[in-house]
Amino acid sequence: MKEKNKTYTAEDFARYHAGTMPDNEMNALEKAALEDPFLEDALEGYVHAHAVESDIAELQARLTEKQKNKKVFFISSVAQSKWWRIAALFIVIAGAGYFFYRVNSVSKEHSLAKNEIKASTEKKANIAPGKTDSAIVKDDIAFENQTESKFAQKEEPAFPKEPRREKEIIAPVQKSESVQAPSQDNKLKDGISSDSRLKEAYKKEVSKDADLEVEKEYVLKGKVTDENGHAVPFASITDKARDKVAVTDTAGRFLFRSKDSSMQATASAAGYASKDVKLKNDTPSTIAMNKTNAGLNEVVVTALGKRKQLKEPAYASKALNGKVPGVQITSPGLQPSGGKEKFDRYLEENLTLTYDENNEPLTGEVVLSFTINKKGRPKNIKVVRSSCEPCEKEAINLLENGPAWIGREHVPGTVMIKF
């Protein structure tokens, strides 16, 4: 009982189980264990340990490491004054850096938007419709990269960190795009060679990991497969918290860099149901996607269902000088304010077709006569001639609520609205 307050160590437990502890010491340990369930449990647990000494050493090292990492948030009260000064300085620098970076990225986005329009018009000429999208994407990324490197060169001396990190984010997206575009164009050979290039790049990325460990950045990688374990290329993996996207390569692989060792992400690919996953830095995750037919059909249905599609002929009619449907102004005394073009556009945008019982749109002409008041609003609207009785109401409605007219008061004018 004299040893009641002795603190037992892992070494004691190991000796106990190894049978190298003297009997009287074992008795004392057993007694102490009976008084202390914590000790009892621990003593029992060490049956499963194989290398106690190295285990404890490893644990101590890991614990110290943890303490070091956490220290950023816990500032020692003794050394407070100095630490605070450093912390404040750091925050000011980081804040200034972030502000500067934001200002630059806003202006970059501006120029990016301009370039997008240019790029899309240029590319439309060369590439068949339907592939324009990927072409634009490709172009955008190329441009983004260009501005990125310019940006990086300019800013490198002052703020080397920000531009570099962004480049890394773009890297995986850009890589897989370079594979995507050629293979869509059926340039198979190209696709294969760029795939091997990609593999090299992938290897390089992985070998870079060692350097990055120092910066406490984690690499989260994995593979996207279908139910049968086949790779799913061009699937996008979205980091929910930071709104970053990575795209899988032809082997279905993807790679993220993150400051966290784990992240919540959503994997999605055309023809598959999107899936929420948790990525961890130490284990490459395999994401098995389930096939769904809805994805592809939906796109087709939506396109046909758009009202704009029905109106397409109206846009075409612009070229035919607004004949079907449109307006014909027969009285020279009255002109719509903003001109005929504007009135045409107003009609295109607001004209609602009238349908018969078979849901077929009705066509015809409605000629209206009217006068204007002081403010230029159409008054005394009357139907002069009509080949589509049900459309008359809509025609009057359009004129009544349309743009104002310019001309002399009380001088009648006529307008023909075609359906």
């Binding site: 007694k31 449990d41 020692s76």
Partner: protein
Amino acid sequence: MDNFIGLAFLKKILSTESDHDLVQLYKTAGNIDTLGELYQRYMELVYGVCLKYMKEPEEAKDCVINIFEELVMKLKKHEVDNFKPWLYQLAKNHCLMKLRSKKGRPVNIDIDVVHLSENIHLDDVMEKEMHLTTMESCIEQLPGEQKQAIKMFYLDEKCYREIAEKTGTDINKVRSFIQNGRRNLKICMEKQALQKA
């Protein structure tokens, strides 16, 4: 330089301070080193508990680190008067939760474990001289095997293995004789104390 002196000073405090003081120090100053120092005192025990439940050294090690992380969060929120039993409960809960979250692996807590978690402060009772006579009579009232085991364990100070060898019974049986004997002893002595009062 004053940093070094400060740290050395802190270290000196930490090694002598009681658990309770360290808990309070951590709560007010929020220094992770304080908590690290405190955790180190019991880390080997925590590792043992983790080993007991996880059975795998690698898993148990992760468990020890995770418990420390949980500790960092929980100690700020909870009022802890007696750190060691609290930590034990935290560690045990953590392990059980972990086992439960592992699908397809049933949690089997054998009866032995349940027995052991009973906390009987028999030593405190035994140390009081006025109780010695009552205890002797109580020991005599124990069933034969329990009486023998208790006598050998407490009076002759033999360890489980020696008792097992001498009596020719299994070591686990010896353990349960002693545990049950202790419980019976406690009940008996409480009864006697009530009668006297």
